[in-house]
């Protein structure tokens, strides 16, 4: 029966080409626009470390003086000071912890003919690599001992390894960074978490850090900090804050493997804040937050407003297209009143007629869906031409491909419901008489 309906639907679509074309076009445009923006939204609001993000937490404390404090309203600081970062790191109260900040280093290739160039860097402690599950193509991460010893070691990204060493195993080689020689101990494999959750002050998406060196070493050799510096009191806001200045500029992450540990850690942060207040360093009552990766991304509203606005617009557009399709489908079905009357008179039930018309609506939807998919591909190509940092990430994955067809089918069936129901209400006798 279903095949017969499909056959009928295809015939009927061919009979009224203009109306059919208008319906297919409307659905294709609506689906194309909404799938383009939905894909962008889907990519941008994704989990950067699936399976791991739930156990990674970002502790926040408030080390500021009392000026400007509104009890209960002032959120804690987004980053930590050098003193607090070091205190929390050395307390070792979490399963793993890492203190880090962004920077930029001058890479001076030795033998090669390349000119010196600047590379984004991460100055971090050893916990970074096991905590974030960073895969290694060659070599390995440095350990806590190297952090303590201020060792001149570096880990580089595979992109930088390709550029400098043609992709060969470069561990053990010497690399000159900002005027100092470093020994490469590891090359990171395929690792590019999006959003760049661990430091949102740099670009939120498509951030490519090429060099990782121990935080302690980066300070010794005077590598340039790059990122947000927030000071209070008489803190100066240079790009390289002095370690005892009242400025936050480092990110501190912890891994807590169970909710009980998270609760305990939060209490530890409160105790720490009270202790620091007693020492006279902090002036505000304890103000702490402990968010996991997704909560942290949500709190920072990482997805750009423009992207959410575009998504809303596209769905508004889809709605207009659907209303348009309902109207056209209604016109088309009612025009066939005669034919439907004959089928009713020959014994077809209302239910059968309804099914037939819905199949026809579904066929329109599928054709529109294919058109919409092509338009979504074109739309995503256009998105990738945009100047935004996330643009390069806009690609359709299998889940969104399936979603496109389901949305197209669902939308067209929804659009077909009212017209099909109206068409089934036709009294067969009346139609036959007028013939």
């Amino acid at each position: 029966m279903f095949r017969y309906y499909i056959d009928l639907a295809l015939r009927s679509l061919g009979r009224n080409k203009v109306l059919t074309a208008l319906m297919v076009l409307a659905i294709a445009l609506g689906i194309g626009a909404s799938m383009t923006t939905l894909t962008v939204l889907h990519v941008l609001s994704g989990d950067p470390l699936p399976g791991r993000s739930g156990t990674l937490y970002y502790p926040q404390i408030d080390p500021r003086d009392s000026q400007g404090y509104l009890p209960g309203k002032t959120p804690p600081m987004d980053q930590v000071t050098w003193t607090d970062g070091m205190n929390l790191l050395r307390a070792k109260r979490a399963d793993r912890q890492a203190l880090m900040t962004g920077g930029d280093v001058a890479v001076q290739p030795g033998e090669s003919t390349l000119d010196p160039f600047y590379e984004d860097a991460r100055f971090t402690t050893a916990g970074f690599f096991p905590m974030f599950g960073v895969p290694f193509a060659y070599g390995h991460a440095w350990g806590g001992a190297e952090d303590e010893a201020h060792a001149r070691v570096a880990v580089i990204s595979s992109t930088l390894n390709d550029k400098l060493f043609g992709g060969k195993d470069s561990t053990g080689q010497t690399l000159r960074l900002s005027g100092t020689d470093f020994r490469i101990v590891g090359v990171i494999g395929d690792w590019n978490p999006n959003p760049h959750f661990y430091d949102l002050d740099r670009a939120s998406y498509n951030e490519d850090e090429g060099v990782y060196v121990p935080l302690s070493t980066s300070q010794d050799v005077g590598m340039n900090h790059d990122g947000n510096v927030e000071c209070w009191g008489n803190g100066g806001n240079g790009i390289n804050p002095i370690h005892d200045s009242p400025c936050t500029w480092l990110q501190f992450w912890v891994q807590l493997d169970s909710p009980a540990k998270a609760t305990a850690y939060r209490q530890f942060l409160v105790n720490y804040s009270e202790q620091q207040k007693a020492l006279g360093r902090f002036q505000r009552p304890p103000n702490v937050q402990l968010r996991n990766v997704m909560q942290w991304l949500d709190y920072n509203q990482v997805v750009p407003d423009d992207v959410r606005l575009q998504n809303g617009l596209a769905f508004g557009f889809l709605l207009v297209c659907l209303v348009n399709t309902v109207g056209l489908m209604l016109a088309k079905f009612l025009r066939r009143a005669g034919e439907l009357g004959v089928r009713r008179a020959l014994g077809a039930s209302k239910r059968a007629l309804f099914a037939q018309l819905l199949v026809e609506a579904g066929v329109v939807g599928m054709v529109g869906g294919v058109g919409g998919l092509l338009l979504a591909f074109a739309g995503l190509w256009l998105v990738r031409q945009q100047p935004a940092s996330y643009a390069a990430l806009a690609h359709l994955d299998p889940a969104m491909l399936l979603a496109t067809f389901l949305l197209a089918l669902g939308a067209s069936l929804l659009a077909g419901l009212l017209p099909a129901w109206r068409a089934c209400q036709i009294a067969p006798a009346l139609q036959l008489k007028s013939q």
């Binding site: 000119d115 005027g179 008489n234 348009n324 109207g327």
Partner: protein, 411 residues
């Protein structure tokens, strides 16, 4: 034209009529808000910066390794840059209006004891001749004297040590900030406080100098400080030249800097126009997308009107024939369909205005958009009416061409 027969016909096509009204209403609501958002973006993109935009060049260098003699190096660089033919002025600055990169802001207070800051202001720092190089116009007071400048690292150290003598004593503010702080009064000689109640005296007011970013805090809330910076501290060289000399001067300047020390990396070399263009690239893209959405919506709506009107004309061929046979002219038939569309569009527009207002309220809450100005309503209505009339014209003309003889044929 008698409206009653049209309305009674529409009542018999309630569902299709309502669908058309709904479609026009949704289109109207979205288009009004989208046009408004485009206006907002254009307004943002055209904000005045207060600097001589077409005459400025920016070069940012990265040093390699620790630099002990950055101050001397900077003076040498600047002296060499000023020698380049075509360069009118050259200095260093930590930031430029409407540009990416880290920006410097401070909390300003009017009373040393106040708990909450009065305003969050941008802090422009730069060497001798910053005002002249930027082309920022002084409208009251004076520029800094050469003896008033201090080095950035010394200023940071003084701040850290709470030693006010190592800091500059004076600053220059924008007219916008002056009016915000002391409405209707002269700002000259007034004192403002930063950090832990450190006083600074206002010695000059400039016409305008936009902030690098943070526009929601007040685009024009900027301060200028006599603090010399170097490349090592992230500052850029800025050069002022005639608009037509920009490319040549930029090339010569980069070559000169490379020649003075080949071991440096040029991080940024561009004209100010390029910097500004890049800064607003996202707004330009968003405005483009909005134009696309508006065009697509209007086209889909127009096609919907054409489709439904054609269907109605087809359905009413017999009625039209009868009317023609009874003496109605072609013009009468044409007018009938045009009026019908005018009525439907009118209902749609009325409903659309309500929706547009509601949508604007939603956007005001979630996207910090201002209120939709009233002018959008009549303009939006006119546009939709015109589009509706154009869309229905084709089918209506076909209806007018139905010959009276149709009435005598049985289908």
């Amino acid at each position: 034209m008698e409206l009653r027969p049209i309305l009674s016909t529409l009542r018999r096509h309630k569902v299709t009529s309502w669908l058309l009204v709904l479609e026009i209403a949704l289109t109207c609501a979205i288009v009004c808000n989208a046009v408004f958002m485009i206006g907002q973006r254009l307004h943002r993109m055209n904000l005045p910066s207060g600097v001589a935009e077409h005459q400025l060049l920016q070069i940012q260098l990265g040093g390699i390794g620790p630099k002990s003699d950055a101050d001397a190096q900077t003076e040498t660089d600047l002296a060499a840059l000023r020698q380049i033919p075509g360069v009118r002025q050259a200095t260093m600055t930590n930031q430029l209006p409407f540009s990416f990169g880290s920006d410097s802001n401070g909390t300003l207070m009017l009373d040393p004891h106040q708990q909450q800051g009065t305003a969050q202001v941008a802090q422009y720092m730069g060497g001798v001749g910053l005002l002249a190089t930027l082309g920022t116009r002084l409208i009251a007071g004076r520029d800094f004297e050469p003896g008033e400048y201090v080095d950035f690292d010394a200023a940071v150290q003084a701040l850290h040590d709470d030693n006010t003598r190592g800091l500059p004593q004076d600053l220059i503010i924008t007219r916008g900030l002056a009016e915000r702080l002391w409405p209707g009064e002269s700002a000259l000689g007034k004192t403002v406080y930063f950090g832990k109640a450190l006083p600074f005296r206002v010695i000059g007011v400039v016409a305008n100098l936009a902030r690098p970013k943070n526009h929601w805090d007040g685009v024009e809330y900027s301060t200028l400080w006599p603090i010399r910076m170097t490349s090592a501290e992230g500052a850029s060289y800025i050069l002022r030249t005639a608009p037509q000399d920009r490319q040549a001067v930029l090339k010569a300047a980069v070559a000169k800097l490379k020649q003075l020390d080949p071991n440096r990396v040029v991080l940024v070399k561009r004209t100010y126009d390029e910097a500004r263009h890049e800064y607003f690239a996202n707004d330009r893209a968003m405005a483009g997308i909005l134009v696309g959405v508006i065009a697509a919506l209007l086209i889909v709506t127009a096609l919907g009107i054409v489709g439904l009107a054609s269907f109605w004309v087809g359905q009413r061929r017999r009625t039209i024939g009868v009317r023609r046979a009874l003496g109605a002219t072609r013009g009468d038939i044409l007018r009938y369909f045009l009026t019908e569309n005018f009525l439907l569009a009118g209902f749609g527009i009325a409903l659309g205005m309500v929706l547009a207002y509601g949508m604007n309220l939603f956007l005001m809450v979630h996207y910090e958009l201002p209120r939709l100005p009233g002018i959008y309503f009549p303009v939006g209505a006119a546009v939709l009416w015109i589009i509706g009339q154009c869309a229905v014209l084709g089918p209506a003309l076909r209806a007018a061409n139905v010959p009276p003889v149709v009435a005598t044929r049985s289908v």
